[in-house]
Structures are given as C-alpha cells and as structure tokens.
Subunit: 407 residues, 2 copies
C-alpha cells in the first residue's frame, strides 16, 4: 500500500489520436482511489508545467469533458519536447514537495520514459517518496518490452486507409498518372510505414512496395522495383519511410555536408521521398506523384482504431493501479495473449530497460528483397487497427491490373 | 422524345471521393429508361476507351456492385487526361455508329465539358443524331454556371477535418512546434483552400490564415501575418494553396527560368509551400512544419460529405432524364434555392458556356487583407460538407490561446 498524496499527470513528445484516452484513464482511476490519492493535477506542456508550476486541477473537470477528450486527438494538456537537465531536478523535487505530489505519471515515448526514470531517481536521492509510472504512447511503435504502443494502431489505420484511397486514385488515373509514393512517419523505425500493407487484399492492389529505414535500399533497386510493378500491374504505389536509408544504411539525401551526387549523377537535395520520386520518375519516364500526410498520421480523430483507443485508456488506469500498489519505476506494457483471437493483458517493465531503447521492425517482418512486409507482420499488425477498413466496390468487368497500362 | 439507342458513359480528369455516385446515377436512371436506352456501355479510361473500343457492359453489373461503388472513391471506370485531337473525331463517330451510341455522358470538369461540346459538334457535323450531356465533377469547384460542383463538398470536408486535426496537434505542441502550413489543392482557384475555414469556431482556433491563388500576397505579408497570429495565440496554422501567387499575381517560386531571388535574398526552389515555410521559419526563428495531403484530398472515402454524395448521384440521373427528353449540348447544374435551409434543384447550362471557363473565388469571399475568408464564404460552403465535423473536447481549465506560448 502506497502512501497517501497528490497525483500529477503529463503528456510528452509527439501526440497521437488516442493519447487523451490514457490521460482520461489515469484521471478516472485516480478519482476512484480516494484512499491513496487526493488532488489530481495535470501538467501543462509536460514536465515544463511542473518546472513553471503551471498545473491544473483535473478533479474540477466534469466527467462529460473527460469523456469528450476520448474522441479528441493530440495532447489535451499540451505537450513538450524538453530534455530535463541536471539543474532541473532540485526544482522538480521542490515543486513535488510543495504540491505534495506522491504519484507521478508521464504519458510518452522513449524520451519520456527516460525522463520518468531520472525523475524517480532524483526523488529517491532526495529521500522523497514518490511513485513514478510511465504510460506508453507512440505512433512509431518503437518502445521496448511491450507488444505494441498505444497510438500506433490508430496511426496505422490512417496510413492503411490513406494508401488505399490514394492508391485507388492512382489506379484510376491509368496511363495519365500511374506512379505514386506516400511519405510515412518514422525516422528510425519502419512500423508505421509497414502498416500500409494492411490496405492490401491481393498482389495487384496497392501498396506494391514498402521501404523502411531498417532495410536500406539503393536507388537503383527502387527504380527496378517500381518498373517491375508498373509493367506487371499498370501502376505502382509505394509506401516510403521518411527515414529510408541507402543500401549501406547511410542517408539517401545528405542534407548537410557537401552536395551528394548519386549513381544517376543527380545532386541530392530536399526531403528523401521527393528526391526518390524525382529519380524514379526520370528513370521510368513517368512523373511520380507524392503524398505527404505529415502530422495527419498522428492526429486523425476520425480514424481512431477502437482497439487502440481502449488500450490507451486501460494503460492509463493500470498505471494508477500499479502505483497505488506501491510500484514505481515501471512502464505499463501490453502483452499479447497466445491464441488466434486477439487479446492483450497488461504488465510492467522496468523503466531503465525501456528508456532510450528503440525497438526496430524485426527481420522476419520484412521480405528478403527489403521491399515489402511478410505475412507475419500482417498477422501482428492487423488486430491493432481495430477492424476492417471501409470496403470498396469494383466493377466486375474491370480488372484492377489489366486496364491501366497499354503499350 | 429522343430516339432509341445505346448509351455510353465515361469519367475524365481528376477523380473525386464521390464521382462514382454520378456514374451509378447515370446507370440506374438508364436502366429505368428501356423505352429510350438499350445497352449501357462504360468507357474504360474516358474517351480513350471509345477510341480503343475498350468499353464494358454496365447492365451486366449487379445492383449490389453498383451500390458498393457509391462508397468507393476514384473513377471506377478508370479516368484519363487526354485532349481529343482533330484526327480523333472521325474515329469517334465511327465507334459511336458501330455501337449505335445515341446517348453520350461525360463526368468531368472544364476540359471534359469542352470534350463533350466538341464531340457533340462533330456528331452534328456528321449528321449523326446523339444526345450529349456533361455531368459536373471537380474538387476545384471551378465550373461556371453551377452553384457548386459535385466532388467539392467531400474534398472540403476532408480539408476542414484535416486542418482541425493537424491544428490541434500544433496547438498541443506549444513552444515545441507552434507553426504549421497545410498545402491544399487548386492551382488556380482557391475554393478548396478556403474550405479550411470550416474547421474554425472561434478566432483563436485554426486555421488562422488562408491564402488563395486569386489573392496573391507577398512573402513579407505572410511573415507579418504569421508573426501576429503566433504572438496573439501562441501558435499559427495556415492553409496555403498550392497555386498561391505573389502580390503581382506572379508565381512565388519560379520553377523554370533563371533562379529567382526574393526580397529576403533567398534563391527560390522547390514547391511553393515548402518554400514559404522555409522563409517564414527563418524570419520568425521557429521551424514551420508542412503537411501535404495531396491526393488524399480528392479520394478520402471515409470523409464523403453525405450532401455531396447524394448530389453527385442525382446529377447523374438528371443527365439521363435530360437526354431522354431530347436535350443535348448541356451540363447539369446545381441551383441553390433561396431560404435559410439548404436545398438545391437542378438545371442545365449550355456546354459552350461552361467549357474551359474557370470560376474563381469571388472577391466578397475573401477579406480585404487577402489572408482569410469572409462569413459569406462560410455561409456558402458550410452546407456542402454535409453536417458538422466530429466534435472535439477541451479541458475547461486549459485555454486554447494562452498556454502555448511563453516569453
């Protein structure tokens, strides 16, 4: 049994479409824990809200307001990208003491787990009893020791729906515009780009190609892949990570440093997918169109995954339960139960094993050529988007792959 | 009473999220017109399908298949960007005769109306009796003589929802990322960019700025506008047309020709919104993030406007009714009925008055400064997106404009 005191909860790093579900989960569980928890404070803009004593009383919010946040993307408390410095810890402990904070919850990704770990350490050093639990959140799905991360399923749903929509558009353009690339978030990890595959039900359908940072490819390989799909299906749609690397694991576009000249004699400039599209387009003799949905990927409320939404809520509640049981220095994890029906339970992982670790897309989730995911990935990811994408019709007499291209 | 014969229908130009509703409208009305219409052919990839005799029998499709197309974005028959040449007309008339085509329907924008007009003229010259009706479609909303164009309402709904989503994300980032621009389709007309305003319910909410091609602005003006909003609200989200011009109506970025150097001494390169974002970011000392949803704007099935969907269907049916009444050489139009409740009836406009005319956003729909729409525009556009956007919650203690920025 943990000691009685006040609670503070904050949101940090890039928001997601369901991150407020975790906030609401924390608050609602806290409201039911009057034996342990008095005040429920919300930090404005993450840890900076503590440093500045900008915190609000979340008990004063109505249950209707809290419920409405579950439909609302992005961090309702405001978020922050701020690395806590050595100078900050004394100040943080002072504020915790002043507000009698005994429960600390931070909803975020790798950096936020590191912050939580360090704050807990500082409290221990100061002999200040405080229970600190990390609540996982990231569309990148790159946190270690959890089956997946809340936020990922909804972003994955948006990406899959988007590639299906824009891919259908590309198909219908036929010879008038048969090539497209979509730039997808994830500078180091390819989980979200890989999710584009969930749009596909047969080989001729988009996406035809998927390129992730973990499996660098040469520009020559991309040109060859696109040409092959274009020849076979009459069009080609590729999902390309913003962080794609070349075959040596180096940046495809050297942004700084001297101008990079590729094997095609082009000087590299600008963002990676625009650059790839230009090279491929010139090589094939067809303009490659590019969609860059950017921050829509992590904020598109209309495409929340119901599974993701509920899990985000539950990890928030679980964090409070764990702290009230006296746990501290952990992150809540999702553990997939064995069996064919998707089911997750929750667990705890030590923060120091999670902090700053990045979980990459494993080898077995990409094919040998490094240009598409495997069935094992699809099996892993499909339940997370929370049900089928909106169905599409097709004229029976029109064949997906045959009408688009003509000699 | 028009003569009996076969019908052909095609889709042309950029697709929309609801263009198949017009196709289904044409087919379903035709199936009820056995007195006038025998076979119902669909051109594959527009007029090219006629030239190549690539047409399918749409009567063979089940009603279930047809209905499923109403949820399906992009042109189910395939589309084309092809300008019919003088050499093509003889061939077209030959194919019409061979297939006994007496009814010709073309679903498209300005260019497609021009094609329909010319094909009708060629048929008249050849003394071949054929009823040709244009069915309006364009997300650009730039067809003349109609209140609005099917396809626009759904694209507008997607744009408004997107700016609300990404704008909420920007707000929540606070000092860690307060500036954003979204690039919106419409190279000459600003209708779709203007629709971003439908996301807004009060001045502090995004979008804060809207820039359209009809009202060129200087880079200095944009910098000043963004700085003012950032100072006032702590963040700034702008909807920027891909076709934005400078204050003299010239391209902001000179893509061809010699390198353009702007008032800030920067050499212009790359797409217009990336360029503006770079200039503004440097001037203000904060990175400006850019979303470019691209073709998602015209293909996002999940955000069809119910009003748009139904109107797209009805203009298809109306086209067939008009032709069966012996009309030819017209485009179906939407006429907004007077009164506070939104209602449209349908009419006909001569194709030659529509063909190649572009209807721009009128002066009274933009404010004097050229950086936002007027209430008159909002009143015009609101009914077209078919109901409210998904509601958003907000913590009562968090103020939209006050928490984001601190000195």
């Amino acid at each position: 049994m943990a000691m009685k005191g006040n609670l503070v909860v904050g949101q940090s790093g890039g928001p997601t479409a369901v991150i407020n579900n975790s906030l609401v989960g924390v608050v609602r569980e806290a409201l039911e824990r009057e034996d342990s928890i008095d005040c429920v404070f919300g930090m404005l803009h993450g840890i900076r809200g503590v440093l500045r004593e900008e915190m609000i009383d979340l008990r004063a919010e109505s249950l209707d307001t809290l419920d409405s946040l579950r439909d609302t993307p992005s961090s309702a408390l405001g978020t922050v990208r701020y690395k806590v410095t050595d100078d900050d810890y004394d100040r943080l402990i002072d504020v915790f003491k002043k507000y009698e904070i005994r429960y600390f919850f931070y909803i975020g990704g790798n950096d936020s787990m590191d912050t939580t770990f360090k704050i807990r350490h500082a409290a221990q050093e100061a002999n200040y009893e405080m229970y600190a639990i990390g609540v996982p959140k990231t569309v990148d799905n790159d946190l270690a020791l959890t089956d997946h991360c809340p936020g990922y399923g909804s972003a994955a749903r948006f990406v899959a729906a988007s590639i299906r929509n824009t891919g259908t558009d590309t198909w219908s353009m036929g010879e008038s515009g048969p090539l497209k690339m979509m730039e997808i978030m994830g500078r180091n990890a390819g989980w979200l780009t890989a999710a584009a595959a969930l749009a596909k039900t047969k080989p001729s359908e988009p996406p035809h190609l998927i390129y992730v940072p973990e499996r660098g490819v040469s520009l020559e390989q991309i040109v060859e892949d696109v040409r092959r799909c274009y020849d076979e299906y009459g069009f080609c749609v590729a999902a390309v990570s913003e962080g794609l690397k070349d075959e040596n694991g180096e940046d495809l576009v050297k942004q700084d440093g001297p101008m990079h000249v590729d094997a095609f004699g082009h000087a590299a400039k600008g963002p990676v997918v625009d650059y790839i599209a230009e090279i491929v387009g010139e090589a094939i003799g067809q303009r490659v169109r590019v969609d860059k949905p950017g921050y829509l990927q992590r904020s598109f409320a209309e495409l929340q995954s119901p599974v993701d939404r509920e899990e985000a809520y539950q990890v928030g509640r679980e964090a409070v339960r764990a702290a009230c049981d006296g746990k501290s220095g952990h992150m809540v994890t999702l553990i997939r139960e064995p069996g064919t029906k998707y089911r997750c339970s929750m667990g705890l992982a030590p923060l120091d094993q999670v902090a700053n670790a990045e979980r990459m897309l494993p080898d077995e989730y990409m094919n040998e050529a490094g240009n598409f995911v495997t069935d094992a990935f699809v099996e892993y990811a499909r339940p997370l988007i929370g049900g089928r994408l909106q169905a599409r019709g097709r004229l029976q007499a029109v064949h997906w792959a045959s009408t688009a291209k003509r000699a």
